[in-house]
Point group: C2
DNA sequence: GTATATTTGCAATATCGTTGCAAGTATTAA
DNA sequence: TTAATACTTGCAACGATATTGCAAATATAC
């Protein structure tokens, strides 16, 4: 699985990439850089984590999630994201209790009617509240 | 107008707060810290700008806007935002051409049906594309 | 105008993310 | 399997961004 993803994207298979990808696959929510660094611990250099995430974003393996504060969250791209083409039209949910960010893959972002003159290309939607685990 | 807002929130009237609030009122879009620093120029210390923005956010005069990258955007709260209670349910638009962020005050964020167990409290929506000026 | 409370500026510090380069590792082909 | 090549990693340095303590300056209340 992990190897498949890396190979499909023509990336060399290295320990760092394997570990980080593994973390994403085993996590149901989104991760920020700090989470990843905590998990990979002392194994890899900060810089390696940055560069790995950057590479994954470029290849369309993971994507950014918008937040209201200034943290950068990453989540796995489901389905058929390709290099430069994200099909990431699902809603993200941030739990106020446990602070986890969850991809609601089945909830698509609704269309909105924009004022005259505006042309939409992409939409992001983040809902916050209490998640299933914390209710 | 500017004095009203400050007084309503029980804030001392200082040059810094006046200037920054003035900038928000005269701007139709959202601003990031760098914009504000550019405008206030050499007049105020960076730290003052940070603290002023922080105070304004706490008082509910301005609010954060989520973005996909890691920039922090601020925009005026319209209507009746009070301390700790934002009624900020309009869509934000980011123009890919001019890079401005615009509050679409008339476009309200639609409700979405969440999976079982999830309780929504707040929603943010950001649409990107081409704005009226750049079309 | 004076006393009190708040705000500001400066300096120091912390955090975050990036870049160049040499050493290390993975991939390819023989 | 080994050697050549291409890519990735770690280190160190750097730059940008944001925060904190404290003394001086300013605003508010009396």
């Amino acid at each position: 699985m992990i190897l498949d993803i890396l190979k499909k994207n023509k990336l060399s298979v290295t320990d760092g990439r394997r570990k980080i990808l593994e973390l994403f696959l085993s996590s149901d929510g989104a991760l920020e850089h700090a989470d990843i660094e905590k998990y990979t611990g002392e194994i890899f250099d900060r810089v390696t984590v940055y560069r790995t995430l950057q590479t994954f974003v470029e290849k369309g393996i993971i994507h950014h999630i918008p937040t209201t504060d200034n943290s950068i969250l990453y989540a796995l791209c489901k389905d058929n994201c390709e290099e430069g083409h994200h099909h990431d039209n699902h809603v993200h949910f941030i739990c106020d209790e446990c602070n986890k960010t969850i991809c609601l893959d089945d909830v698509t972002i609704p269309q909105v009617k924009l004022p005259k003159g505006f042309t939409p290309k992409h939409a992001e939607m983040v809902v916050s509240g209490v998640c299933d685990d914390c209710k």
